[in-house]
């Protein structure tokens, strides 16, 4: 128990003193996960609108498939991306292995089902007439999709937060394809796993507490936005 306390005081100390290494790692975590959440949203939100409002054969199967992938293990995606981008892999020539870019890619794959599934669920509360109305008033397909998403904005926002949360808290992909390289691909979660293996439990706890704080702050900010 004393370690929890030490971890907490260490965390506060590291945050208050703006410890450069910790700040750098936290910043990188944020940067990578925000990027993957935004990019995945840019793809999944319009795609969710398309899947929800279009009628096509196999739609039900597709939706349940998407839901199945909610709980896909991060290491499975890590492995997939690794095989794809390693030197011997089909995309090895791009030389992206162990870079932040490939981490973003892996996290996007990870959170795409969540974003897509939750967006579709969010849209089930939107009357189809909303879409017809938008189009009848001259909205393009994309503008109509924005209208539908805006109608379900709270639930859609929740989907994005979920996706971001999953991205910033995962360790499997970051470790396997990022490689936990200091000053380049080391993020909070991989740093925690490293510090634990080094035996520095206090620093691990401190980083864990910083991770939770980031999640908390983002939730508070988004809640504020929603209330406006």
């Amino acid at each position: 128990m004393i370690e929890l306390w030490h971890g907490l005081t260490r965390a506060i100390e590291l945050i208050v003193t703006l410890d450069p290494e910790v700040m750098e790692i936290a910043g990188r975590s944020l940067q990578i996960s925000v990027t993957s959440a935004l990019l995945a949203s840019a793809i999944c939100l319009p795609l969710g609108v398309l899947i929800h409002f279009r009628r096509f054969p196999g739609k039900r199967v597709l939706v349940s498939l998407i839901q199945t992938f909610f709980s896909i293990p991060t290491v499975a995606i890590g492995l997939f991306v690794f095989v794809l981008f390693s030197r011997a892999g089909p995309l090895g020539g791009l030389d992206l292995m162990f870079t932040p870019l490939v981490m973003v890619l892996g996290q996007m794959i990870l959170i795409t089902p969540i974003l897509l599934g939750l967006t579709i669920a969010a849209l089930s509360g939107v009357d189809k007439a909303i879409l017809d109305t938008a189009r009848s008033l001259g909205a393009s397909g994309f503008q109509a999709a924005v209208v539908a998403l805006r109608e379900a904005r709270f639930a859609v926002m929740a989907a994005v937060i979920m996706g971001f949360g999953r991205a910033i808290s995962e360790v499997g992909i970051a470790l396997m394809v990022g490689g936990n390289i200091r000053g380049f691909t080391r993020v909070i979660t991989t740093a925690i796993s490293l510090e634990t293996s080094r035996g520095d439990l206090e620093l691990s706890l401190a980083l864990g507490i910083i991770l939770i704080s980031i999640a908390l702050i983002i939730n508070i900010i988004l809640n504020r936005i929603q209330q406006r």
């Binding site: 009357d127 007439a129 909303i130 017809d132 109305t133 938008a134 189009r135 009848s136 008033l137 001259g138 909205a139 393009s140 503008q143 209208v147 805006r150 109608e151």
Partner: protein, 359 residues
């Protein structure tokens, strides 16, 4: 070249045809009403014209351009129109934003946008509510927002689907006034659907009668009401007396129709032996207590079966070998003391009879 033209337009729902071979032409600037009972396919047709749905068969030409050409053409064409749905929904935003959205999608912003939206809100009487969330409005107000955001984009074509169907009488007449003033102040082409044939008569220049997915008749409002093409149209447009018979003589376009031993004279080109229906509008029938000599060629004696007072008019059902409904002023009904069982004489002119060939 008509402004909007549909050629053999058809739509299916699954295997079922819900719209068959619609050939409609609407000219620029005219007010055209699609009338017909619920389920006739009016909404389906409007959705096709607004290019929201894709037709199963047929073509739609807008200003001479085939709208099936490309998605780009369809969007550009749709932006020249505005459609007020039968059950309008408002966006979960302010009244102002609801009215502004169509303009924003067309790239308007800044003071142009504000001026235009404020003007429209003024016109529909919603200026005071512009910051309210549109979801909190009443049914009539929602309908006004829906019309306001449609006319805000100054469409070349305004499509209205049953604009007053779901409203209380006060809201309904207010919306009808609004539509009337739009017709007066804008040169917009209007295509509206209504199951209320009198509304169609009041607002439209031309009518199209739809039933079971087919466009049965189009024409000037007066023509459709007085010269229905067939029995279904006749019944829908309020010709209550449709008497079946056979042409037994024809002379100089004056025909005699035998209906169970009673003979009706009318003006028609149908030849002897043709099975026809004689249509007589109730308001064209005069009633008297004794046989009077008049210019009316047709005069039948009968017995009053039912008398119903309808505001300034009284509706009288008479049995004179065939059933006949007459509409007389309340005043004359009172003078005659019309009551059930009374013997009366019903008279109408040969020119008041519209003869339709039966299928």
């Amino acid at each position: 070249m008509p402004f909007i033209e549909t050629v053999n337009l058809g739509q299916k729902y699954g295997e079922r045809d819900i719209l068959k071979n619609i050939n409609l032409r609407v000219e620029r600037g005219e007010v055209f009403a699609l009338i017909g009972p619920t389920g006739a396919g009016k909404t389906t047709l409007l959705r096709l014209i607004d290019l929201i749905d894709m037709p199963a068969t047929g073509k739609i030409y807008f200003d001479g351009v085939d709208t099936a050409e490309s998605a780009k053409v369809r969007l550009a064409t749709r932006r020249r129109m505005a459609f007020v749905l039968q059950k309008p929904v408002v966006f979960n935003r302010s009244v102002y934003d609801n009215v502004a959205c169509g303009l924003r999608w067309r790239g308007m912003k800044g003071s142009d946008l504000r001026t235009r939206v404020d003007g429209i809100l003024e016109m529909v009487g919603l200026s005071a509510d512009k910051s309210r969330n549109a979801r909190t409005l009443s049914g009539g107000e929602v309908q006004r927002v829906a019309i306001a955001r449609a006319i805000a984009v100054e469409p070349e074509v305004l499509l209205l689907d049953e604009p007053t169907a779901n409203l209380d009488p006060v809201s309904a007449s207010r919306i009808e006034e609004l539509v009337t003033s739009i017709i007066r102040h804008y040169t917009t082409t209007i295509i509206m659907a209504t199951h209320d044939m009198s509304q169609g008569q009041r607002l439209a220049d031309r009518l199209g009668v739809m039933m079971s997915g087919e466009l049965l008749q189009t024409g000037d409002t007066r023509d459709v009401f007085t010269l229905p093409r067939n029995r279904e149209v006749a019944e829908f447009v309020g010709v209550e007396n449709v008497i079946d018979g056979v042409v037994v003589s024809s002379e100089d376009r004056v025909v005699t129709i035998d209906s169970g031993g009673r003979f009706i004279e009318a003006i028609s080109d149908h030849a002897v032996g043709v099975e026809v229906s004689a249509c007589v509008r109730p308001e064209d029938i005069t009633l008297a207590l004794s046989r009077v000599s008049s210019s009316a060629r047709n005069s039948f004696d009968g017995e009053v079966r039912w008398v119903v007072s309808m505001g300034p008019f009284t509706r009288v059902e008479i049995d004179c070998g065939f059933p006949l409904v007459a509409l007389v002023t309340r005043k004359s009904a009172g003078e005659m003391g019309l009551a059930k069982g009374q013997k009366v004489f019903a008279a109408f002119k040969a020119t008041g009879v519209h003869v339709i060939k039966r299928n």
